[in-house]
Structures are given as structure tokens and as C-alpha cells.
Symmetry: C2
Subunit: 330 residues, 2 copies
């Protein structure tokens, strides 16, 4: 039988508690913020069958819950500081699950320089459901926003686009061209769906060079819609330049390509950079170990961004992954 709430906290979460958490023995934590930074705060909730799959390794569930938040911090130019976690578990969970879940948190705390500041553990009818609130520090007055982009700015994407979408399709056994991939590519894509790679190393370059940025979590096209709407402009995305994961060719049938461009779970960064700073941004990104690729530009107007291949709009049946009633899986 699973131990009670207090025992779970003591056994699995207390060892993770950092400065200001008072060993999770108090009603609240204290977050000390340096005077020369802005405190950036984000929250995301992930749920079984919606953001991860039943039977997914619990350490990876923990990592995903943290990383979707860390990705938001990175996109705002913020360095990760600390987090709060609320965990709802149901009666089917075993202690093994909690052990591995805590190991996932521990790994990522160390990996990203995060500390646990507080949390809550409850029993729910259907779990797991995990809500994380993450704190980051951006240089004072220099948090990067979705607004601020200007027509003429170069649009960059970090990493590759579509790995999360393909990884999920593979995990669900959906038929598609990904079935023909070599096993090691398939494994990498499935892992990437389960464990995003937030681009924290890119944060300083965003602060230095980007006029606007956001993390790509609901599909490149739809997220570009959001950035341009916030910035009061439009954009043209050149699909031929969008970097796809290893082994995925651009000569996929159009519907497959469209799906990669509009599917969730990339957790890459979309950034707008003034043309005269574009080269410096690319160099700074490379120096930080992150590949960024020019995929288009911001343009005048308020129309939704154009998505072009060889100069012609490509057909899109949707622009973004949007969580809707009863919709699952991303």
C-alpha cells in the first residue's frame, strides 16, 4: 500500500528541497531574488493521457513536467532558479513510480540548476497530474517577450521542428513515413517527445539579440501566429528552410510536412532578431551549443503569417495543436 501524504513528502521530496524550502516542513517557502534581476514566473500542468502516456517512465514524466516550464523560462531569456510542484496521484500508483519520479526531478534539478522550493501531494481519482510553477531570473528590464518583433526582423528556430509530433506518432503506433526510420532515430524521437530539451543555453543570446521570442510548444505555425499577433505584424515562414529531425526528409507528402509544422511538443525557441544582429545572434547561439536556423522574416501587416514552399503557400488543415475538449495526446 502506498504510504500517506506526509510519508511521501518526507521520503521522496524532502531530499530534493533547496534553500528557502525549509526542508518542506513549513507552510510556504521563501524565494530570495537578487536585486539586479527580474523574477520570471511560469506554470504548466501536465496530465496522464494528455501530455504523457500511461506507462511512460515516471522519471521522464517528472522531467517533462519540469522541462515544459524551463522551456518557457529559456524563451524569456531567464535562467532557471527554483520550482514548486503539485502532484496528484491515484490509487494505481506504486512506490516504484514515486521513486523514479523523484529521480527524474533530481536529475533535472541538477541539470538545469533548479531547486525545489515547495509542493503539495494529493490523491486524485485519475492521475497522475503534475502542476509545476517555475521561477527564473532575467537581467533587469530585459525579459524577452512575444511582443517587440518588428517587420524586417529575421525569424529563427532553434534545433529541429517536428520531433515531438513524430515521437508521439511512433509511441502511439500510428502509421506514417516515420515507420521506415532506422531504429535509433525512432528511439531518439520517442525520447524527445517524452523528455523535451529546453534551450536554456540560448537565453543569454535571446536577451542580447532578440526583439521577441517564445517557446514552440503548440506547433511552429500557430506559435508564430501568436508572436506576430503580439508584435503587431505578420511573417513569412519559408518551409524549405525549416530544419527537420534527422532522417525526416522534406519530400514527405504535404499533409505530413504540414503536421510537423503544426504539431505540438517541439519545445524549441522561435526568435525574431533585427537583420543587422542576425549574424551575431547565430554566432552567440553556436557558441552556446545551440543551432539556430533562419526560417523566415517578420513582415508588415496583420494577416496570419504565410507558410511558403518555393514561394507558394502550402496547404494547412490546422495552424496549431490546440487542446480541446476530449482531445488528447500532445
Amino acid at each position: 500500500v502506498l504510504p500517506d501524504e506526509l510519508t511521501i513528502i518526507e521520503r521522496y521530496f524532502r531530499p530534493l528541497a533547496g534553500e528557502g524550502a525549509f526542508d518542506l516542513l513549513d507552510d510556504a517557502g521563501r524565494l530570495d531574488v537578487a536585486p539586479d534581476v527580474d523574477l520570471v514566473v511560469t506554470t504548466d500542468m501536465v496530465a496522464n493521457t494528455v501530455h504523457f502516456l500511461p506507462g511512460d517512465p515516471p522519471d521522464m514524466v517528472a522531467q517533462k513536467a519540469l522541462r515544459v516550464n524551463v522551456s518557457d523560462l529559456a524563451a524569456k531569456g531567464a535562467e532557471p532558479l527554483a520550482y514548486m510542484i503539485s502532484l496528484g496521484i491515484s490509487a494505481d500508483i506504486k512506490e516504484d513510480w514515486l521513486t523514479a519520479f523523484a529521480q527524474g526531478l533530481k536529475h533535472d534539478q541538477e541539470h538545469f540548476g533548479l531547486r525545489l522550493l515547495g509542493g503539495d501531494t494529493i490523491f486524485v481519482p485519475h492521475g497522475p497530474v503534475v502542476a509545476v510553477t517555475a521561477f527564473g531570473a532575467a537581467p533587469q528590464g530585459r525579459m524577452v517577450h512575444r511582443f517587440g518583433g518588428r517587420p524586417g526582423d529575421v525569424l529563427f528556430a532553434s534545433g529541429t521542428i517536428g520531433a515531438g509530433t513524430v515521437g508521439l506518432a511512433l509511441l502511439k503506433g500510428e502509421p506514417g513515413p516515420w515507420e521506415a526510420l532506422p531504429a535509433e532515430h525512432k528511439d531518439a524521437l520517442m525520447t524527445r517527445y517524452r523528455v523535451p530539451e529546453p534551450r536554456t543555453a540560448l537565453a543569454p543570446a535571446l536577451v542580447e539579440f532578440a526583439t521577441a521570442a517564445m517557446d514552440i510548444s503548440d506547433g511552429l505555425v500557430g506559435d508564430c501566429d501568436k508572436l506576430t499577433a503580439a508584435s503587431g505584424c505578420s511573417a513569412a515562414i519559408n518551409v524549405d528552410c525549416v530544419p527537420l529531425p534527422d532522417g525526416l526528409a522534406k519530400d514527405f507528402e504535404a499533409p505530413v510536412l504540414a503536421r510537423l509544422l503544426t504539431g505540438g511538443d517541439d519545445y524549441e525557441i522561435l526568435a525574431a532578431v533585427a537583420p543587422r544582429k542576425a549574424t551575431a545572434f547565430q554566432l552567440a547561439a553556436r557558441a552556446a551549443g545551440v543551432t539556430v536556423t533562419e526560417i523566415g522574416a517578420l513582415t508588415e501587416g496583420t494577416d496570419p503569417p504565410q507558410v511558403l514552399s518555393e514561394g507558394r503557400p502550402i496547404p494547412l488543415s490546422r495552424r496549431a495543436y490546440v487542446h480541446g475538449r476530449g482531445e488528447g495526446g500532445a
Copy 2:
């Protein structure tokens, strides 16, 4: 059909967004903290059938989700500043529910001086589940902890003890002496279970006078266990002094009284105060509009606190409400 995630945010949550939330149009919020305060952070998750009942009015669900967090801030001597909310809803939710839920948040934002800084809305298989992270400001270096109490300190409880327990019993139709209460008392107790009354007005007096404090959320006795454990001492609680809600008599059968003393959802404050400051604390509390009652004292030793009536220990079948596997209702 319920609108999608983005429409829900736009329609119901954007109107609640405060300074630093960027109209919920960004990946993260910014929390500006005055230089002369400590930032106090707490998180609590509430779930359907566990912390509230199916069919509970949605404005009250929202209020409970906020208030269990505000109660923690108050106990730490912190003034409420802002909050993040993650909401998981399932397909049985209607727009009416969201309208009323947002109204509950709006009411309490204004009531407690909170602003919404960010959030996340997802669809889950079984909801609603609500995770709130709340931020408060305590005078620098003066956050009140569970530790810090000393033998000899006077123990105070705010308000009354047991209203949440009786309110829940009434809502569930459990037989008991509460059935004989007048209708207006019953209504007040049920409302109190659904909508706690965090003692924010008491925060300055706690900062000024308390050596240790915590909110009473899992039962007076068990929470006193936690305060004394953190403070490295024991305590004696004089049951005859514990204030009960209107209409509930102390001559209840012992098991009923024991249940009130160990049931959850009081959201009152337990505070330890040095004897020479006890009168000043009571006066300050009264001036703030909060009744505090002396219910015992901290004592030497590390045994669990004694719970005494007329000087003799009373029988307790449990010391606290503890969320356990499959256990519901508090």
C-alpha cells in the same frame, strides 16, 4: 461544446490578469518584488471529490483553491500579492461552470488584493483539478515559521475549530449531533467548508508577536504536532478552551469532540507567543478583527502534544486528517 484552451483563456482568465501578466499573452509573467520584503511562495492543489464535492458551486471551488493558499501566506505573516493557476477540466464541464469559476476568482482577487500573474488550462480525464501557487510579501527577515516556538510560549488558535469538519459531514449527510443544529448554523458551516476564511488580517500581529505559527488545515492536534516537532518542543492543549463553532457544545460525546479537534479544513491559525507578549498579541488580533483564544502552551520535551480536558488526556483515534490512498473528503 466547450471552447478550446485559447478561447477559454481569452474569455475567462484574461480579464483577471494583473500587472506583470502581460494579458496572459506571453510564455511567462514577471513578478516585481519590493526590495524591503521577503517573497513567500506556497502551492496547493485541490481536486474534485477530494477537496470539494461534485456539484459544489464553481465560484466556491475557485475561492477554495485560492484561499487554502492565502491561508498559508497569512500564517507566515505575509500579505497576498499574486497567484498562478493551473486548471484541469474534463469534458463534463460547461461554460456556465467556467463563468462562475472566474467570478469566484475575481471576487477573491479583489477581496484579498491578489492579482493573476499567469496560468494554464488543460483538459483532463477527470476534473476539475486546480493548482494554485500564491505569492506573498513578508517584512524582510520576519517571515513566521513553524519553528521558533519555545517551551512556555502561549498557544493561540484563531476563530473556531471544527467548522470545516462539521460542514463536510453536513454536506455528505452524515448522521451526528450536527443534524440538530438550526438551519442557519448548518448553512454557515457548509459554506465554511466550501469557502474557508483565511486570517490575512492576523498576519501583521503574527510578524510582530508570534515565535511560530502555521495554518490549521489538517486538524488542530496534528498540526500542533507539526509545529512542536519543527520547534523542538512539546505542548499541552486544553480542550476545554478550544473555541467551537456557534451551536456546537463541548458536551458532545468524546468521539465527536475528538473528530472536531483532528478534522481538516479549519484554515485557522495556530500561533505560539511568548507569555510577556500574549496580551499584546490578543489586543492586536482584536484590533485586526480576528478573535484569538489561548488554548494551551508549549512545553519542554519532544513527546507529541498532550490533549487534555479537565487535566486528563482525552482519547483520540487519530491526530490528524491525512490524505491517504483513496481517502476522500477534506
